[in-house]
Subunit: 220 residues, 2 copies
């Protein structure tokens, strides 16, 4: 009754990704073991083991007393909850360096993301081969979205034109935007926007290095 619309919190999604990540790595590396304990997972990510068990319980994974969790069950459940067991089609808009990197990155398929086209407004770029794709003119977006059932636009255009491109993408039927243009965007309610704040990483680096220096000076 209550579970009808329980939305996983951002923090939980993030933790689940960490579990997925580390359990997957451990399996690859691991010498024949196919189970993992909550304590092991917790140590890898520097957190409490109780929380790991709670999180896993919340997505329906049951552990085995004295043994731990079966790695495949953990991975399977996370895949299911996060939707990695389905395929989502995406297009890249903006065939600059970052767009080209995104379009040619192979790691996305593992998460069910399939990049099926790349677009640019610049006529000089249209027709150019980029990995296994050929750059198409932005005007063709609606046709591709319709024809290939595309849901996601990966936005790698300059910030100045980002909002205009988003408006166009939305009118072309795009349902979600993965925003790599460093500017904020507006879109209708039904369009989901995920903004990738590269500068947050930068802030952490910068803040950390600054603090280190200050501490060094205090010690000196």
């Amino acid at each position: 009754v209550k579970s009808k619309n329980k939305h996983l919190s951002h923090a939980l999604l993030e933790r689940l990704m960490h579990y997925y990540y580390f359990v997957g790595e451990q399996i690859l590396a691991g010498g024949g073991r196919d189970t993992v304990t909550s304590t092991e997972i917790a140590q890898l990510i520097h957190m409490d083991d109780t929380l790991v068990r709670k999180d896993l319980a919340s997505i329906g994974v049951r552990g085995y007393p004295r043994v731990g969790f079966k790695a495949t069950e953990v991975l399977e459940a996370i895949r299911r909850v996060l939707g990695f067991d389905r395929t989502y089609r995406a297009v890249v808009i903006g065939a600059g360096r970052l767009g080209s990197a995104m379009a040619s990155y192979r790691g996305f398929t593992k998460y069910g993301l399939e990049i099926c086209s790349i677009f640019d407004k610049d006529p000089a770029k249209v027709g150019v081969r980029m990995g296994h794709l050929v750059i198409q003119p932005l005007e063709d977006l609606a046709i591709v979205v319709e024809g290939k059932k595309v849901q996601i636009a990966i936005l790698t255009v300059p910030p100045e034109v980002a909002q205009k491109v988003v408006d166009f993408a939305v009118s072309s039927g795009i349902q979600a935007i993965w925003n790599f243009a460093s500017t904020s965007l507006k879109a209708p309610e039904h369009v989901f926007i995920r903004h990738e704040h590269i500068s947050i990483g930068l802030a952490e680096l910068s803040y950390h290095l600054k603090s280190e220096q200050r501490e060094d000076r205090q010690q000196a």
Copy 2:
């Protein structure tokens, strides 16, 4: 006394970045106004205005009753706290598509990050021009780090070789690593690692689209 080592939480850093971002944008857009209220900031980021005031107070910005906060004071304080008023030098390791995108991205200087070299292990790439830089052989890393006082390595190499490269970078004197290789890394205590989890963004997109579909089905 207590303020000696107060470390800003990850969440606070992230909120500060949002404030910085939005207040900066508003200034650029704004028609002559040079103040901003906590309520305005809060609405932009969908949060409580009290928290905005608390956060700003915590980094030493004082507001003006009836008026709000002076935008320049807010920006200045955040720059100072996060260390954007200093310059940090970085090198890119791995001259693939992503590395090339990072090396040529102009937006970093705004945050005090200066990219001063790009490296690759592949002899075929060495010597190739990439924006205003020329790809150098990885062996030269230590000399560059020493000579140009480089602190940060932006890691854009394939995951298989990432750990090896990190070990080498650390031995060359690198103090912080911005990791874009999708694998976890180990480094000595004194080396700060920021792992950029691209897949977390993907998880959010995927989860959101999945939920939407389920809700659609329930309605139908």
